[in-house]
């Protein structure tokens, strides 16, 4: 498998490795919020992995983690500044979760396991796959929770995409189930989607699922 598809599917940070669950569950109550965090996370993981790969030869072994965190924090702060300047409404809603991207183990994990050992091109593809894999998981969860919890889809996308998205909202003539908007609903919906994803993936790929998730397996093809 290529670095991209490996990171995107086989080692999807959210659905396979269950990493970054705090922002995943907290911010995925609508597609607009999910898209904002998805873009922010992808920007941070791609930017930090590329920079780490570019300077990997000079990073002292004893200062490895502080340097990774410095670089990730820089990209996280950049993202926060850009959001606050150009998407203020969205910033007010998801700012806290953008700021804690710096502690997202998905990003630090890719820096440690891959970017610090690979050339820039491979690190870029791996980061792109990781970021987009996380983004797709966020968007699916956001869409399901918004439809079930609010009875809408693509509501308030204009806070991120501008006036062009003002009429994109779909309203469903169903009674909303508000629990889907709250943390317990996030766990329930995420659990159901995870089970569905595992079922579909293992059936299609012919894998034998032993019913356990090996979330610590971050072995990389090198």
């Amino acid at each position: 498998m290529s670095d991209f598809s490996d990171a995107f599917i086989a080692r999807n940070p959210a659905w396979i490795q269950l990493l970054g669950l705090c922002p995943l569950l907290a911010v995925s109550n609508s597609v607009a919020n999910a898209l904002g965090l998805a873009l922010a996370s992808t920007f941070v993981v791609v930017g930090s992995n590329v920079l780490i790969a570019a300077v990997r030869g000079g990073i002292p072994e004893f200062a490895r983690l502080p340097v990774f965190v410095l670089i990730i924090a820089t990209f996280t702060t950049l993202t926060t500044l850009l959001l606050e300047a150009y998407a203020y409404e969205l910033y007010l809603k998801i700012a806290l979760f953008v700021q804690i991207i710096v502690t997202n183990c998905m990003i630090l994990g890719r820096a440690e396991a891959f970017a610090s050992k690979q050339p820039v091109g491979r690190a870029f593809m791996d980061a792109l796959g990781t970021g987009l894999g996380f983004a797709v998981a966020l968007l699916i969860l956001g869409a399901v929770r918004e439809v079930v919890g609010q009875g809408t889809l693509f509501a308030e996308l204009d806070v991120l995409l501008g006036p062009v998205a003002q009429n994109w909202q779909f309203d469903f003539a169903v009674s909303p189930l508000p629990i889907a908007q709250y943390p317990p609903g996030a766990f329930i919906v995420a659990g159901l989607l995870l089970a569905l994803g595992k079922r579909l993936f293992f059936r299609r790929s012919g894998h034998q699922d032993d019913g356990t998730l090996n979330i610590l397996d971050t072995t990389d093809s090198q």
Binding site: T74, L81, A85, L92, K93
Partner: protein, 168 residues
């Protein structure tokens, strides 16, 4: 020794590169961020006062306005995850005390009930009298945030009492 010097040089250069990136980003976004913050504050002031007559005033801990039309002031009190900045509007007659959180970092889902963009908790109390504010109970699970809200109200009452007279 040579390795150590090389490592130190690398760390200094990395710190400089990261600091430079942030300095550059700050320079190009500062004007827009300031504009957004000011606009958000103006919207909050208009929501609090019910008109835009205060929006041109610079609001800080010194009250803006007067005792007849009402006073608008900012109070910063310690919250659970850092300082909380409240904007408070108080009028003596007819009696009004309204409050909004301008900036905070309280825990989402627990302490963010003070954020009127996410919760109706404070807007629902726009018609509370001073007595009702003083008797305000805490919110379960958000003891520190509730205490911060009560502290901000109390500090505002003291300031307004000093300026306009009357009992707290």
């Amino acid at each position: 020794m040579r390795d150590l010097a090389k490592h130190v040089l690398f760390l200094v250069v990395m710190g400089g590169v990261c600091g430079g990136l942030l300095h550059f980003a700050n320079a190009i976004t500062k004007a827009d961020i300031d504009k957004n913050r000011l606009l958000a504050q103006h919207q909050l002031v208009t929501e609090l006062v019910g008109s835009d007559k205060f929006t041109d005033l610079v609001v800080d801990s010194t009250p803006a306005g007067d005792c007849t039309n009402g006073l608008l002031l900012k109070q910063i009190v310690p919250g659970y995850a850092g300082p909380i900045e409240f904007l408070i509007y108080q009028r003596i007659s007819p009696e009004v005390l309204r409050i909004r959180a301008v900036a905070h970092r309280e825990t989402p889902g627990i302490g963010d009930f003070i954020d009127s963009r996410r919760d109706d908790y404070l807007p629902a109390k726009d018609k509370y009298t001073v007595l009702e504010w003083r008797a305000l109970d805490g919110v379960t699970g958000a003891t520190v945030t509730s205490a911060a809200l009560r502290a901000a109200v109390w500090k505002a009452l003291v300031v307004v009492s000093e300026k306009c007279g009357g009992d707290i």
